[in-house]
């Protein structure tokens, strides 16, 4: 049986949870097995996970799950895995899922693949999964040999499939350990899609010349419904907030479309964005290394090109 932990933020599922359930359901099909989705704490409309292929949805409720503590969450998921006799456990490769995967591996004595990008190859009774390695510069195929297999699914890899119907939510009881972690505050940017979840990202670098010029980038992002990002020098100079920094030491992203404006494309920057499906580079220097990694390029002055692109986008959206 395939168990999927469907994570929720403030009781609401994100796309990552639906992707994990879709992946779990397709894995269960490959194994001729069932997919069970697990939710922890107060979750709204958990039955909708059935739409993405969960045969069953379980909820473990309790005040212990109000805030995230990897120790408490991993204990509950491990107990559920053992109670249900699950042989595959799927998580989302998010800040939450990443904290849980290693704990579950140690606790269940199970092999794990962090950031899987494909369904398992189960031919010949094996279990092989691919994932990005070397910061997106290569892909590795992992073989898991333990009885329980653990996977965290990279975002934006598996197209959502609404194949089923809502199902009733059943309750499961486990014993939760006391938490040694107290959450004092959570500050989330409201009204924007966080970078790791964004399907379109508009990013800008030193070519912008100063923080006062960011209006044209924000205008383009707004028209496209995109999230804004920046390169490391821009974040280091405090032109833009630290959480917008994408690259090797910042956030690694994998959107469908990445538009890089005035970014030369240092290898460390590419390491954080090279798994984007389509890359557009706008730069006045035709020798900028980023053009080699791009699908589409515009050689020109960004202060002229970006407003024109925004206007063209507006026209397209209005059509």
């Amino acid at each position: 049986m395939v168990l999927v932990f469907a994570e929720a933020i403030k009781g609401q599922f994100k796309k990552a949870a639906f992707e994990a359930v879709t992946y779990g359901a397709q894995t269960a099909q490959l194994l001729g097995s069932q997919c069970v989705a697990l939710t922890l704490g107060d979750v709204q409309n958990a039955g909708q996970l059935g739409v993405y292929g969960a045969n069953k949805v379980l909820n473990i409720n309790g005040a212990a799950f109000e805030n995230f503590d990897s120790q408490v969450f991993a204990s509950a998921i491990a107990q559920a895995t053992e109670k249900l006799g699950a042989t595959v456990v799927v998580l989302s490769h998010t800040s939450t899922g990443k904290s849980l995967l290693g704990r579950l591996a140690a606790r269940l004595n199970a092999g794990s693949v962090a950031g899987a990008k494909s369904l398992p190859d189960v031919s010949g009774g094996g279990f092989k999964v691919t994932k990005g390695v070397y910061s997106g510069k290569a892909i590795a195929t992992y073989e898991i040999s333990s009885p329980i297999k653990l996977i965290s699914l990279a975002g934006n890899e598996i197209p959502l499939k609404a194949t089923g119907n809502e199902v009733a939510v059943e309750t499961l009881e486990v014993s939760a350990p006391a938490s040694k972690v107290k959450v004092l505050s959570v500050k989330r940017q409201e009204g924007i899609v966080p970078l790791p979840e964004a399907t379109t990202v508009v990013s800008a670098g030193r070519g912008m010349k100063g923080p006062e010029n960011w209006g044209i980038v924000e205008d383009l992002a707004k028209v496209m419904g995109a999230t804004t990002a920046c390169s490391r020098p821009v974040a280091d100079a405090d032109w833009r907030p630290h959480h917008e920094h994408v690259g090797q030491t910042g956030v690694a992203i994998r959107p469908n479309l990445y538009i890089a404006i005035g970014i030369s494309g240092a290898i460390q920057h590419l390491a954080g964005v090279n798994q984007s499906k389509v890359i557009v580079v706008i730069n006045k220097d035709p020798e900028a290394p980023f053009f080699k990694a791009a699908d589409y390029g515009v050689v020109g002055d960004l202060f002229e090109v970006v407003p024109k692109l925004t206007a063209a986008m507006e026209k397209f959206k209005a059509a």
Binding site: G115, I139, P194, M224, V278
Partner: protein, 246 residues
Amino acid sequence: MKLLVCISKTPDTTSKISFTPDGSKFNDAGIAFIMNPYDEWYALVRACELVEKNVGTVTLINVGGADNDQIIRKGLAIGATDAVRVDAEPKSALFIAKQIAEHAKSQNYDLIFCGKESIDYNGSEVGAMVAEFLDLPFVSYASKLEVNGGTSTVERDIEGGVETLEVSGPFVVSAAKGLAEQRIPNMMGIMKAKSKPFTVVAPVAFPDLAVPVSYTLPKEKTGVKLVSPDNMEELVRLLHEEAKVI
């Protein structure tokens, strides 16, 4: 204050990655190896700052062969007190975590640091595994950490925001950008490192349950399609009709 910092060796960030012709192994010819940047710049430096401000020791631990000694010496030069290398080929995250946990279980560390991920396997797994083996809390992606007696305050990066936590007692923390600033070891540090305690220990037996069996390089981009800066309608059309991303 007794701190442990887990470090790993990775190819330099600018490395061109390639594999043996059969795709089974990383090709390390011409590759410069470094200490994993998250381990060095953020985890190790923050640990050093904490003992400099208070009193205590920073122990480095690495799982690997003798060719890792160079990065361990660098860690000592940056400011660690002593080092332990578990002499084994690090093939899987759980194996590595088991070795670290075996060392740490009798040492009563106040804090165990690691980088948020290694830049080769990008798993973010070892810290959480060590925490589970030792039954300790784990706080990932810390961008700020203050310790006051037995209680620590940590800010951690979460999707689109920041979470502030208070942790009582020892725990494992993974370090992200912001936790500290990179330090370049000075000549005095490099000289001192040569005489700091450095022990090599044998590994405990533990199976590798998930290992990479083959590698491929991503499909090369077929070449950039240039669009005239005066024709952004064409770019929009291409993104819509050809790339199908808008």
